[in-house]
């Protein structure tokens, strides 16, 4: 279990990194720089 005392700051940067990764992926898909993603 994570230490709650340290996790508050961790959560903020985690959100920012998650948004950044999602936007980069969306841009790569938009510019057709990655092949169609299958499930």
């Amino acid at each position: 279990m994570s230490n709650p005392a340290n996790s508050s700051q961790h959560t903020i940067s985690l959100d920012a990194y998650a948004v950044l990764l999602a936007l980069i992926l969306a841009l790569l898909v938009r510019l057709n720089l990655v092949p169609p993603i299958k499930w």
Binding site: M1, A5, S7, S8, A18, A26, I37, W39
Partner: protein, 360 residues
């Protein structure tokens, strides 16, 4: 000179940090993919042999495999850093899922969710405090349990803990109780939803309003159906967005009693506590609404979000250590469990009401 001595060390630290994540990431991928293979194999077998068998989503298999590993062999230290990234994949998946919502749908369903969340939070916070008194729990532990069960589980407890100067021990109790109750919700909510013949929208809204942790709410929705999972994420995201207001309320209450530090700039406090991934979700939804992506590109983004959720669901099972939860004592768990049943019934009533009067 000092700077030049420190600067070269940074990339090495970053690289070693990323390398340390790889074993756990591979474990997440292996467990999640094994769940997917089991779902596909059962579907192929039952189809080939003309057997009628309900489709059990990979979500359940991934969680069960993770639970078995975590509670038998345990998670060796080398995997732990990578496994802990499951929350990162959850948030990335939610932002990408924004592409499946037109902004109008977000405002319509989000507006209904917001109204229901406001009613549910007010009543459930009150009920949790009555329960805390009945079970003679420490007041700050009661506050943490109330925040965790009415807003968004572990994240809310972590956000509230420093704001109300609660003990580490209280936070650990509250987190353990919320995690145990989240695991139980995963298995009970879909069964109740099916027995009540809830529509995908109604069930998704219920799961998003009642299940505490975002990962568990997403999984509980996806276990019912793809469409229910989508609605559950939207309702849960609306609930998450309110975290700052509730934590601010508690911080002001405890500081007025001289048992927590004073809150300075309230707007800055709200911004610090606001879950930023909600903004990413809205931005991708706006781009999709404006036609920024073609249809095949939207399919790719949806599938990327599914892969991110696959890693998340594997992590939900792998991080649930049932032995650790048993050690925490029965009182916080019992108070939490009674509170959860109350919240589940309350939100179910609200969803029925919304379905009749607001047309979901």
């Amino acid at each position: 000179m000092t700077t030049s001595a420190i600067t070269p060390a940074r990339p090495i630290t970053l690289v070693s940090h990323i390398v340390a994540l790889i074993p756990g990431l591979l474990l997440l991928a292996a467990v999640g993919y094994a769940g997917k293979l089991i779902e596909q194999s059962i579907a192929a077998y039952t189809k080939a042999h003309h057997i009628t068998f309900p489709n059990i989503e990979y979500v359940l298999w991934a969680i069960v495999i993770g639970l078995i590993i975590a509670n038998t062999a345990g998670i060796p230290h080398i995997f732990q850093a990578g496994v802990a990234t499951y929350e990162f994949w959850l948030k990335t998946g939610i932002v990408l899922l924004g592409s499946r919502f037109l902004l109008g749908d977000v405002l319509h369903l989000g507006g209904i969710s917001l109204l229901l969340v406001a009613i549910a939070i007010t009543l459930s916070l009150t009920f949790m405090h009555i329960l805390g008194r009945a079970f003679r729990l420490k007041p700050k532990l009661t506050s943490l349990l109330a925040v965790g069960s009415s807003i968004c589980g572990v994240s809310a407890i972590i956000a509230a803990k420093p704001a109300i100067d609660a003990d580490d021990e209280d936070a650990s109790y509250a987190i353990a109780a919320i995690l145990a109750l989240g695991a139980i919700s995963l298995f009970t909510f879909p069964l109740i939803g099916h027995s009540l013949h809830l529509s995908d929208k109604a069930y998704g809204l219920w799961a998003g309003l009642a299940v505490d942790n975002t990962a568990e709410a997403t999984a509980a929705g996806a276990l019912y159906s793809d469409a229910a999972g989508k609605v559950a994420v939207l309702a849960k995201t609306t609930r998450n967005a309110l975290i700052g207001f509730i934590v601010l309320g508690y911080a002001l209450y405890w500081s007025s009693r001289g048992e927590a530090q004073k809150v300075g700039n309230k707007a800055a406090f709200l911004w610090r506590k606001f879950p930023k991934f909600v903004l990413g979700f809205l931005l991708i939804s706006l781009l999709a609404t404006l036609g920024f992506f073609t249809k095949p590109q939207l399919t790719s983004l949806t599938n990327l979000s599914r892969w991110a959720f696959l890693l998340t669901f594997a992590g939900v099972g792998l991080r649930t250590d049932l032995r650790e939860l048993v050690k925490q004592g029965w009182k916080p768990f019992a108070a939490g469990a009674i509170g959860e049943v109350f919240i589940a019934l309350l939100t179910l009533g609200l969803v029925y009401g919304a379905d009749s009067f607001l047309r979901l």
